[in-house]
């Protein structure tokens, strides 16, 4: 009897202890709080500090959202929640990276901020013909990617739109000519992402454009309100995928379906890199309302290997695709952002780390939780970069969906409808009105610092990232040619932010500015593996990555305080492998592909 009593008491205690576990976990996993430590303390503690300087740098850009068909008025904050994008380009080849930022209000102006080299910028979009691109009837901007499609040495612009996609030829940095019709682009695509990459290695940049809303919808003149995804996690009624094969002479041929890019998922992000060492760039696609897709490039056709590679299960809301060599292994992982809302929807972001696989095959495991980069709110754009030059890539993530009334939330109505049948959720008229409520708004950003041992720690507020805007796109670039990565963030219906970075003294770096000859001149797709201090890290020149973003094409490597660089190995898109012995550190190495 005593034994039974003791057992009963023990089980009651166990039960109480179990009830306390969630409370303890909540306390333990609370995100980093605190205020900006200030530059001196942050430099001493973390090796860097960020200061938001957009206004001081001459940037006063505020994004405007589109106003779509009145039939969608009650859910306008949700259906028109994209469009703030930013891309980095040296538009005039003066050696200073410039900024192009999109606007999405009808009749609003995009901006091209020319880097004046003294820490300030000047908007020259109107002078160059790249401002007035959101005219009523032509759709509005959703993103911009730059690539030298005709190999004339100047980066050309593809403007991603809900509307008429536009290609602008860069006339030697002095102006732009609209060449959309000559290029053979379709009349209308409702796209949110596009990337330049040379899929067939012919030295000419091709263009991948991923539809979000179906292409037959003019979102300003709708015949139906059945415009929503038919499932929250398995939707396949989105826009089509296009691959515009560059034929040369300024002409493109659309071959998406022919080469196996036949998905109709709701794509929000894409990035390309040679993930298998085949010399061909594979295509990673992050989809809203569903699983991500990985299209491996077999030279002439693509094969979707999402399930085989491990990424094609557990559908979420993919909104970002960026590559990073997290452990300095010479292998790229992929970061995909999703939705996490306390107490309602915990999807968790994905850090797809490569694991051992048979030759020619790809296997990934989601290790976001293990690395501590899983929970980032309603996450959007993210980029890897060594922000404190310690020799390890860190991760900057912006977030926040719709910030309206702080006291009321749309989450109840969102969850009520999102779990229902496709006949209900697919029709916008069934979605309750927003009525000024927020949906995952005013969120704290994440800046995860890599410890090199498999853990990241969020230090965002401590190093100066304290904004609570509805972040969308993040791009990294060394705007001052100082050997440090600055951060630029485009916010939906919010200001463009420029975080100027200060890094503690004594930390070395190296950068590579590549120019293709046999390969495409932008060198997009080129991979640089740097060997230093008995470790190696790979980076790829990107034709677009993250969410609605493009980093500087120049590749920046932090090296830490005692840097001994052994070599840099460049795998050009042409297949040529070039080895640079002991390249200059604390310098930008300009490298032209050997012919």
């Amino acid at each position: 009897m005593n034994h039974l009593k003791a057992a009963k008491v023990a089980i009651v205690l166990l039960f109480v202890a179990l009830l306390c576990v969630p409370l303890a976990m909540k306390r333990w996993s609370r995100p980093t709080g605190g205020a900006d430590l200030g530059q001196a303390v942050a430099l001493a503690r973390y090796g860097f500090h960020l200061k938001e300087v957009a206004h001081a740098a001459g940037i006063d850009f505020v994004h405007r959202a589109p106003t779509l068909d009145p039939k969608l008025a009650h859910v306008m904050p949700q259906v028109a929640s994209f469009g703030a994008a930013v891309s980095v380009v040296d538009v005039d080849r003066d050696g200073w990276p410039d900024l192009y930022v999109t606007n999405s209000g009808e009749g609003s102006q995009n901006a091209l901020y020319r880097n004046l080299g003294d820490g300030t910028f000047r908007n020259i979009a109107a002078e160059l013909g790249l401002a007035d691109v959101n005219r009523t009837g032509t759709g509005v901007s959703m993103g911009a990617v730059w690539g030298d499609y005709d190999n004339d040495g100047y980066e050309d612009l593809f403007l991603v739109k809900w509307g008429r996609p536009e290609l602008y030829h860069n006339d030697r940095g002095r102006g732009f000519t609209r060449v959309s019709e000559q290029a053979g682009l379709p009349a209308w695509i409702n796209a949110n992402s596009a990337i330049w990459f040379d899929y067939d290695g012919d030295g000419l940049l091709d263009l991948f454009v991923a539809g979000y809303y179906p292409d037959d919808l003019d979102l300003w003149h709708l015949k139906t309100t059945r415009v929503m995804p038919d499932s929250f996690e398995y939707a396949t009624n989105g826009g089509r995928k296009y691959l515009f094969h560059n034929l040369g002479g300024g002409r493109f041929e659309e071959i998406g379906e022919r080469v196996g890019l036949n998905s109709r998922r709701w794509t929000l992000a894409a990035a390309a890199a040679d993930l298998r060492g085949t010399g061909r760039q594979d295509l990673f696609v992050a989809n809203d309302y569903g699983v991500s897709e990985l299209f491996v490039n077999d030279g002439k056709v693509f094969r979707e290997v999402g399930k085989e590679s491990g990424i094609g299960f557990a559908p979420k809301s993919g909104m970002n695709a960026s590559f990073g060599d997290v452990l300095n292994e010479g292998r790229l992982g992929v970061y995909v952002s999703n939705i996490s809302e306390d107490g309602i929807l915990i999807q968790g972001n994905n850090l797809w780390m490569p694991v051992e696989a048979k030759a020619g095959e790809l296997k990934f495991e989601n290790q976001a939780r293990e690395f501590g980069v899983e929970l980032g709110g309603w996450s959007f754009g993210a980029q890897f970069g060594d922000l404190n030059n310690d020799g390890l890539v860190d991760l900057y993530l912006t977030n926040g969906y719709i910030s309206l009334d702080k006291q009321s939330s749309y989450w109840y109505d969102f969850s009520k409808v999102a779990g229902g049948n496709s006949a209900i959720i697919g029709d916008a008229k069934n979605w309750p009105g927003f009525n000024g409520r927020s949906l995952s708004g005013y969120q704290a950003k994440r800046l995860w610092l890599n410890d090199g041992a498999g853990r990241f720690a969020d230090v965002a507020p401590l190093v100066g990232v304290t904004d609570r805007h509805d972040g969308r796109a993040v791009a990294l670039a060394d705007f001052g040619n100082r050997g440090v990565l600055d951060v630029v963030v485009a916010n939906q219906k919010g200001p463009l932010l420029l975080y100027r970075n200060t890094v503690a003294a004594g930390r070395h770096w190296i950068a590579f500015d590549l120019e293709g000859t046999t390969s495409n001149r932008s060198a997009i797709g080129a991979q640089v593996t740097l060997y230093w201090n008995h470790q190696k890290r790979v980076q790829v020149v990107s034709g677009g990555s993250g969410f609605a973003a493009q980093n500087d094409r120049r590749l920046h490597f932090g090296l830490g305080p005692k840097a001994q660089v052994e070599k840099a190995e460049i795998r050009w898109p042409s297949g040529r492998v070039q080895t640079l012995t002991a390249p200059h550190i604390d310098a930008i190495n300009k490298i032209k592909e050997p012919t």
Partner: protein, 294 residues
């Protein structure tokens, strides 16, 4: 949800053959088999599990705790079917990238059966308790926005038809029917009151979370009252409380409604039965045996 499966079987004078039990759907394995089929088909067609390993963890913990507590407190090894259903429910309904919520929810669910008792009955449907407690206490790490069936009509119809048939054969369809009818009526009322469309108000009941809720959770024999009329009344009360919680925009209204209404009804029934017995006993002539006592 965590149906003590054996309770679905009426007491029979002789042990039926497994063929007879299967034909009558009185087998203790019907519900586990059905929910396993749902799980396997869903996983193969949609890959809907958070991960198979997390679901396996939930099932393992549920069965392990059941066996352990049964042995410690009752001195016997409990049949694992009930714990299996609890574990599988937790695996489907809990949404978290972490492993610990699955293990914790399964352990809480089973523990509640042994700890939260009133006059010899456990009060909460175990997985309802586990999930409600987890969502309430640990909501920052856990969700249960369950959309794993892909929101497609055919999947919904298959589950509805099969689930309704099984529940009907188990003589508990009236509970499900009462709840669904009440839900639809309240959806109409909410639509009228809030101005939201009727479709948006009935949307939840067309989703997979509710399919599990209405077929397994609210029909759990161990945690429902005994009379048919009482069962209908409780189902109606659950829908009523849920409607109120929905007006207050509580995301997990159905879980919380059952969490409050189910145990309250059971306690009332148990208290009333005990009171009646006491009254009968005191009213009986001296020397005559009290009812139920031979």
């Amino acid at each position: 949800m965590t149906t003590p499966i054996a309770d679905f079987s009426p007491a029979l004078p002789t042990e039926p053959t497994w063929r007879q039990r299967l034909a009558s759907l009185d087998s203790p394995y019907v519900v586990p088999v059905f929910i396993t089929m749902v799980l396997v088909v869903g996983q193969l067609s949609f890959g809907f599990l958070e991960s198979a390993s997390r679901t396996f963890l939930a099932i393992s913990v549920a069965i392990g705790v059941e066996l352990l507590l049964g042995r410690l407190l009752l001195g016997k090894w409990q049949h694992p079917a009930s714990a299996y259903v609890s574990g599988i429910s937790v695996g489907i309904l809990v949404r978290s990238p972490a492993f610990w919520p699955f293990a914790l929810c399964a352990a809480l669910s089973i523990c509640s059966k042994y700890v939260l008792r009133y006059r010899g009955r456990h009060l909460w449907n175990p997985s309802n308790f586990g999930i409600s407690a987890l969502l309430f206490l640990g909501g920052e790490m856990v969700g249960s926005l369950s959309i794993q069936w892909g929101n497609h009509v055919w999947a919904m119809l298959v589950i509805w038809v099969l689930g309704a048939f099984i529940i009907w054969r188990l003589r508990r369809f009236h509970i499900t029917a009462t709840y669904v009818l009440a839900f639809i009526c309240y959806a109409g009322l909410r639509s009228w009151y809030t101005g939201a469309t009727f479709e948006s108000e009935i949307s939840p009941v067309t989703g997979p979370m509710y399919q599990l809720f209405i077929f397994f959770m609210i029909t759990d024999p161990k945690t429902t009252v005994k009379t048919r009329r009482g069962q209908c009344l409780v189902a109606f009360a659950v829908a009523t409380v849920e409607a109120v919680l929905r007006l207050a925009q509580v995301v997990y209204a159905p879980y919380y409604a059952l969490f409050f209404v189910g145990p309250t009804a059971l306690m009332l029934e148990t208290w009333w039965a005990a009171r009646s017995e006491l009254r009968d006993a005191s009213a009986a002539p001296v020397g005559s045996p009290a009812r139920g006592v031979s």
